[in-house]
């Protein structure tokens, strides 16, 4: 069997706030093959975001190990993480806070290309302006968007900008943390379809975190259900939907229509 793209073993992360020790992750094992599309679902505080931050090398585990392409990223210093930074890109929940309000869209999108760490991993002849035009076109934004500031765009457009930035260094893996939760319901479908198209056409490995089961069902072929810092159920999306084994998963699935009808997830 070939080495999986991502592997995590007994991953723990505890936070200490004013003397109190809070375990956000309490032993997570994970494997993800290249090209896989993993959805991570769970309620607030179940450790979903903590897990993807560890996978993206934005945080360090307090215990356990993470391997990416066979290298133990949890043991490498920042300056040796260039290969990870170039191959793994993120899209955050709220594009109002994930785009620097004082940078032009063009600068924002080309930021990954300009960082020294990533630049060394890319072919030397990458033309920033050309790549900028390519990714803007890929997310259906006009070329003149590059000269404007984020606040001049709507929420859905801003999320497209964030996606364009993630695509700029031609990553292998896209990690999306609640990619549509902050968006109006009317533009969610557009952004989800865009993500699906991009992931399919570029053959990306995708990790999506969401509390919205419909989003994950739309995007992912594998599912991991998290609760209280652990993965309580994992497997192919279709089979989990058809036959959830855990009480918690059943409760999550059963809760979908109720959440929708009360409009709680718009808050």
């Amino acid at each position: 069997m070939t080495e999986p793209l991502y592997r995590a073993e007994a991953l723990t992360r505890t936070f200490t706030t004013s003397g109190r020790v809070v375990p956000a992750l309490a032993g997570v094992d994970l494997e993800l093959a290249r090209g896989g599309r993993l959805g991570i679902v769970g309620e607030s505080g179940s450790g979903k975001s903590t897990l993807v931050r560890l996978l993206a090398g934005l945080d360090r585990p307090t215990g356990g190990k993470v391997w990416f392409e066979g290298r133990e990223i949890s043991a490498l210093p920042e300056r040796e993480l260039g290969f990870l930074r170039a191959s793994v890109q993120l899209v955050f929940q709220d594009p109002r806070s994930s785009l620097n309000p004082r940078m032009r869209v063009g600068q924002i999108i080309t930021e990954p290309l300009r960082s020294r760490l990533v630049r060394r991993q890319l072919p030397a002849d990458v033309d920033h302006q050309q790549r900028l035009a390519e990714v803007l076109a890929a997310v259906d934004l006009p070329p003149d968007a590059a000269d404007r500031y984020p606040h001049e765009f709507s929420g859905g457009q801003r999320q497209r900008i964030a996606i364009a930035r993630a695509l700029a260094p031609k990553p292998d893996v896209l990690i999306a943390d609640e990619p549509v939760s902050a968006l109006d319901v009317s533009v969610r479908a557009q952004v989800l379809n865009l993500l699906t198209d991009l992931v399919t056409s570029a053959g990306l490995t995708l990790i999506v975190v969401s509390h919205d089961l419909m989003v994950v069902r739309h995007l992912c072929d594998q599912l991991a259900v998290m609760r209280a810092g652990r993965i309580v159920e994992a497997g192919p999306t279709a089979s989990i939907y058809a036959d959830p084994q855990q009480d918690y998963t059943q409760a999550l699935l059963a809760a979908v229509p109720r959440i929708r009808s009360t409009g709680r997830d718009q808050s």
Binding site: A86, L90, F92, N100, E111, S115, R116, L117, R165
Partner: protein, 270 residues
Amino acid sequence: MKRAQLVTGLILVGAVIVAALISLVWTPYDPIQVVPGQRLLGPGWPHLLGTDGFGIDIFSRLLVGARTTLIVGIISVGIAAVIGVPLGMLAGQVGGWLDQLVMRVSDVVYAFPALLLAILLASVFGASTLTAMVAIGVASIPAFARVARAGTLQVVASDFVLAARGAGTSRWGIAVRHVGPNIAPVVGVQASVGFATAILAEAALSYLGLGTPRPTPTWGNMLRDAQQYLFVAPLQAVWPGLAIAVAVLGFNLLGDGLRDYLDPRLREVP
């Protein structure tokens, strides 16, 4: 309403700047040359605001005093900002023991009165504009460090900095491209308020004889000169006092106005 503050501040500050600029090329009378025959004249013509105890035209001295005031403000705020802002950014971005160290040292400096520092410097190097500027500047470092640190903490916690780290941007790049531009408004506000504090401090130091010595006119040493004639010619003290009040009020209003104007919560709302 909010604009009114900003506009009033700009007008008052503008008046001080114009006075300083005019004094560079022209003053009605020599602001330094003693004229024994015309001491303590009241306001009128040709000496608009009268003359002081040395027979020097007060209006001329006020104009030149504006220049000294502005230079002191610029240099001392400059010293405070150039040292304080990077320290605050460093403390906010690195955190941990370095943050603790910077902030505790800053607390100590903050607790140390600027006046004491000025007396110290003046007794070692002699009272001069320079020692006053250095004393005021050093005493103002903590205020800038705190403002910069608070702003940095806010920016560093934002998703766009997380995204920048995910994009492989170095700490230096994050400081220059993300933190700097986003804390610039609060630092600007602090600079304006700090300017007002510096003007007041310089006047106090000059009044005590620890700042700019005679014959160079400053509003502070004009007050000092006027003191001995307080019962004979009380208006002598009013003019420099008024000038100080205008400048301090102007910079404070400008600072407050800028704060409101730049507040993203007030601006983002469509």
